[in-house]
C-alpha cells in the first residue's frame, strides 16, 4: 500500500476539506444517535428515569453540546445535498467549489438563527 498519495489536484483543497468535515460530522452524529436511542428507550421503562436523563439534556453544558450537534447536522445535511448534486447533476462537478461555499453559507445562516434562540431556551430553563 502506498503511504504517500501522490495526487495534488485534490489534496489540501475544498474537495478534501469538505470530505474531512463530512466524515467527522457523520461519525459525531452516529455516536450521538447510539446514545439517543438508549436514552429515549427509558420512556418504556420508567417515566421518572426518563425525566431524570432529560434533565441533563437541559443543563448549560449539554446545551452547548446541542449547538455543536446542530452545527454538525446542518453541515452534513447540506454538504450531503452537494455530494448528491455532484453525482447526479450534469454540471455538478463544475460547480462543486461554489456549492461548498453555498453549503457553508446556508449552514451558517441557519445556525446563526438557531443559536440565540436555543441559548435563550437553555438559560431561561436554568434560571
Amino acid at each position: 500500500m502506498a503511504k504517500l498519495p501522490a495526487g495534488t489536484l485534490y489534496r489540501g483543497k475544498v474537495g478534501m476539506w469538505s470530505w474531512v468535515l463530512h466524515r467527522i460530522t457523520g461519525v459525531a452524529i452516529f455516536f450521538f444517535l447510539l446514545v439517543h436511542i438508549l436514552d429515549t428507550s427509558l420512556v418504556r421503562v420508567d417515566p421518572e428515569a426518563y425525566n431524570g436523563v432529560m434533565a441533563t439534556y437541559k443543563t448549560v453544558i449539554i446545551g452547548f453540546g446541542e449547538l455543536g450537534l446542530v452545527a454538525a447536522i446542518l453541515f452534513h445535511a447540506f454538504n450531503g445535498v452537494r455530494i448528491i448534486l455532484i453525482d447526479f447533476w450534469r454540471k455538478g462537478f463544475k460547480y462543486q467549489n461554489l456549492m461548498f461555499w453555498i453549503v457553508v453559507a446556508i449552514a451558517f445562516i441557519l445556525f446563526a438563527g438557531f443559536a440565540p434562540r436555543h441559548l435563550m431556551h437553555v438559560f431561561s430553563y436554568n434560571n
Binding site: 461519525v27 418504556r44 426518563y50 437541559k58 450531503g80
Partner: protein
C-alpha cells in the same frame, strides 16, 4: 507508487448483486429523506419550545399519535442504517488488518440491528399510562 486503473469505465465483470452500488444509492436516497425527517424532528423538539419542554408527558403527547410513531420509526431505520453503512466505509478505509476490519464491521451491524429492534419496540409499544400512580408526569389521556 503509481496506481494504474485500466479502462475504469469498462463494464463490471463480476456476477451477482452489486451490493456496493446499492449501498451507494442507499446513502443518497436515505440522506434526502433524512433531511426532512431530522429537520422536522429538530424543529418540533428543539426549536419550537426548546429542550426545556421535553419530558415524559411531551413524548406521550407525540407517541399517542401514529403520525409521529411512523415518523420516528422511519427516521430510526433510515438514520441508523445510513450511519452504520457510513461507518463501514470508514473502517474499510482505516483498518489495515483484515481481522480488525471484519470484527469492527460485524460489531457495527450487530449494534445497528439491536438498536433498530429496541427503538422500533419502544416507539410502537409505547404506553402513556405505564405508571398510573404517578402524579407529576401523568399525561392527560390517562386521567
Amino acid at each position: 507508487m503509481e496506481i494504474v486503473i485500466e479502462t475504469p469505465n469498462s463494464p463490471r465483470k463480476r456476477k451477482g448483486a452489486n451490493w456496493e452500488k446499492y449501498g451507494w444509492m442507499y446513502m443518497r436516497i436515505s440522506g434526502a429523506v433524512l433531511i426532512v425527517l431530522i429537520f422536522g424532528h429538530l424543529i418540533v423538539n428543539l426549536w419550537d419550545k426548546g429542550v426545556g419542554a421535553i419530558d415524559f408527558a411531551f413524548v406521550a403527547g407525540k407517541w399517542t399519535n401514529p403520525f409521529w410513531q411512523v415518523w420516528d420509526v422511519l427516521m430510526l431505520w433510515l438514520a441508523l442504517i445510513h450511519g452504520t453503512n457510513g461507518m463501514r466505509t470508514i473502517t474499510n478505509d482505516y483498518a489495515e488488518k483484515e481481522w480488525v476490519r471484519k470484527t469492527l464491521n460485524i460489531t457495527l451491524w450487530v449494534v445497528c440491528g439491536a438498536l433498530i429492534i429496541l427503538g422500533t419496540l419502544v416507539a410502537t409499544t409505547f404506553d402513556p399510562c405505564i405508571d398510573p400512580n404517578a402524579v407529576n408526569y401523568l399525561p392527560t389521556v390517562c386521567k
